[in-house]
């Protein structure tokens, strides 16, 4: 007997259903049974009738007109486990994710040891089960030890559960390696994910090249370092017919190159992160290391192009690019500080800024956070449909608040958004039919086994 058949039923009443997969946006109800969605619609049952019909132990929740959308699928997260658990681990990241409305995280393989072997994929799966708060999947390294030379066992890793292949925060530089990866990877229908940066141009750079870098006396990374790598790679995609995904694009030229490639019909997708549409290079200000990112925050024209790329669908997804770092990694001279910021708990409110500014519709924005990454990764979640996993969030898109790092669940606090006024907050996060975050009852946010 499966859990779904024997599981308890929960009805979420009086919600605004938002399903980016189908474009559904209407008031209604949703009924879960065990870990799955049993039914969904405008009127599944009359409230009175419902009370009578429900089996023993069934629960009805009045959601007071809040938005109900698929749980967010964050396709780019660094978990730091195994190896650097002092910065983050799967439990702390899962709590942060649940609080941010993220029900599925996809981890980068740049841990210690590197996830380049079947046994490490299995380790991640086991730890995810033990923590049991969010779904945690992982990419595998494209090359052994992220050395950029020898391909990993793409086939065996796919069978073990790897969702894609990437060298994480390092670009796949060698053209032959990438060619073979794209070609060989065709057998397994998994994406090869590129960190788009020509490393020889970026070598000593610590921020975007331009006036601000010049004034601060910091060495710059030219914006073209990104599009150069993308354009080279697109030739290889054309040659091999492989599936190629560009992570965290940040420049206007990159958006244009991918827009052209998509028109050409190539199997190309891309994502960006909130900081590339919510901030520009001026955030570096007075050597703020929390604004040190890779790729670096770009100029205002680039930032606007990222917004446009999201609005017209050139950019498929928004990922948090969650990169926890402890104070020792960031409280340093700018040039020596680590790249990256945390993002799980700011992913939704920062994305909603685009909605409040009229740049994206709510459904489109939610799609970039859930349905579209799920579809690219071949996951069953990211949609509200009968039989789909009961992964969803209840949220108020308009509720005002301020980002406060002291209240964040992540072990690391390296966010440049501290104090930023935002609108929109998660009230409840449901994963596999279980409430894994409840804003009204923080103590219940701890997940438990047994779904």
């Amino acid at each position: 007997m499966s859990a779904a058949l024997s599981g308890r039923r929960v009805a979420y009443l009086n919600v605004r259903l938002l399903d980016p997969a189908t474009g559904l946006d209407m008031p209604g109800q949703i009924l879960t049974e065990g870990g799955r969605i049993l039914d969904i619609g405008a009127k599944l049952f009359e409230p009175t009738l419902f009370k009578d019909d429900m089996p023993d132990g069934a629960e009805g929740i009045d959601c007071k007109g809040l938005c109900l959308a698929p749980g967010l699928v964050d396709m780019r997260v660094q978990l730091r486990e195994p190896g650097e658990e002092h910065m983050e681990n799967m439990a702390s990241a899962s709590q942060a994710a649940a609080a941010g409305g993220v029900t599925t995280m996809v981890a980068l393989p740049n841990t210690q040891p590197v996830i380049d072997d079947v046994s490490l994929i299995e380790f991640v799966a086991r730890r995810a089960r033990e923590v049991g708060i969010t779904r945690i999947r992982t990419y595998a390294a494209l090359t052994k030890g992220l050395q950029g030379k020898e391909l990993t066992e793409l086939g065996l890793l796919t069978e073990a559960g790897a969702l894609g292949f990437t060298d994480g925060t390092q670009a796949i530089v060698n053209a032959v390696t990438l060619r073979r990866a794209l070609s060989y990877g065709r057998m397994f229908d998994r994406m090869v994910i590129q960190h788009p940066e020509e490393p020889s141009l970026a070598r000593d750079g610590v921020m975007n090249e331009g006036e601000i870098a010049a004034r601060l006396g910091l060495s710059g990374i030219p914006a073209c370092a990104e599009v150069m790598m993308i354009e080279r790679d697109l030739r290889l995609v054309e040659l091999t017919g492989g599936r190629y995904h560009v992570a965290h694009i940040s420049t206007s030229e990159s958006v244009a190159a991918i827009r052209r490639a998509k028109r050409q019909g190539l199997a190309v997708t891309c994502d960006t992160a909130p900081h590339y549409f919510a901030l520009n290079e001026t955030a570096v200000g007075d050597y703020r290391t929390f604004a040190k990112l890779s790729p670096p925050l770009r100029d205002e024209m680039d930032r606007r192009a990222i917004v446009d790329g999201l609005a017209d669908g050139t950019i498929d997804a928004i990922a948090s690019d969650h990169a926890p770092h402890d104070q020792e990694s960031k409280r340093l001279p700018f040039a020596q500080a680590a790249f990256g910021i945390i993002g799980l708990e700011t992913l939704l409110p920062l994305t909603l800024e685009l909605v409040h500014n009229g740049q994206m519709t709510l459904l489109h924005a939610l799609g970039a956070l859930s349905h579209r990454p799920a579809r690219m990764l071949g996951l069953d979640c990211g949609r509200l449909a009968k039989g789909a996993p009961a992964d969803f969030i209840l949220f108020d898109p308009d509720r005002p608040g301020r980002i406060d790092v002291t209240r964040m669940r992540s072990k690391s606090k390296n966010s440049p958004f501290d104090g930023r006024p935002v609108q929109g907050s998660v009230w409840r996060t449901v994963m596999g039919g279980r409430t894994v975050f409840d804003a009204d009852a923080p103590k219940q946010a701890r997940g438990s086994r047994g779904d």
């Binding site: 020898e150 391909l151 990993t152 066992e153 065996l156 073979r180 070609s183 060989y184 057998m187 091999t240």
Partner: protein
Amino acid sequence: MTAPRPDGARRYPYRHLLGIEGLSPDEIHFLLDRSESYVEQNRRADKKGNSLRGRTIINLFFENSTRTRTSFELAGKRLGGDVINMSVSTSSIKKGETLIDTAMTLNAMHPDVLVVRHSDSGAVRLLAEKVNCAVINGGDGSHEHPTQALLDALTIRRRRGRLDGLTVAICGDIAHSRVARSNIHLLTTMGTRVRVVAPPTLLPAQIERFGVEAFTDMRRGLAGCDIIMMLRLQTERMKGSFVPSIREYFHFFGLDRDKLAAAKPDALIMHPGPMNRGTEIDSEVADDIDRSLIQEQVEMGVAVRMACLEVLAENLPDPSLRNAP
């Protein structure tokens, strides 16, 4: 191309055997028929013939080989010829210049047939242009290995009675294999349906233009096949460049009982040797006497090489012979 068919016994109208590409079905059948006549002779106690008496055959191997060289040596000796083996290490010499110098030197000794193996594609043809004798390609780079294709065809024809109408899957490192190319040319010429099965990294570009169907899923590629030809995967291609590892290669492309079940129930297995057990083929399958033709291929190899040496020697005095193919 259409080959002229002069009256009489001679139906292989060329001076050399440099490749299968371009040969006609009649020419191939002629070589196979001639080979067939030696199979019985090779099984007798007295295996000696004399049709090559007085002829000098030089095995000129620029690349290591045991079985092909031995097979040619035996073939020449069984027909009464004088066989000399010359192994030249390519690493110790400058290629090109030395290849031609070697050819000129040997030519001056008036051999009748040169059997040449070289690690560079096209090297045997280059050498053939510089000598007066007949040349058999014993394998050139990733280009052709015509006697291997002939012995494979003879093995299949004896077992199945025909070549046309069968479906043959060639599996493994197609990109670097001369055995694959010669077999593709021969089998497609004879009306056999040919499939190639390999990871995309080991399939040459535009392989469909050879008239074959390409598969990257081995079970789908083997479905309904009469014959499975496995190829050797060179060790230097296994570790992370063309394929990630031996275990992954074996998991997806190694012939084991499980994948074999996708082929016809009576499908036969071939391998040009030497085998990498546990890389491209499981020992259980390779040693299955009901399914594996691997030993028979070796036996047919001697008969085919006797026929080829004899036919080329017969053609030698005729100055009107054309050079190609």
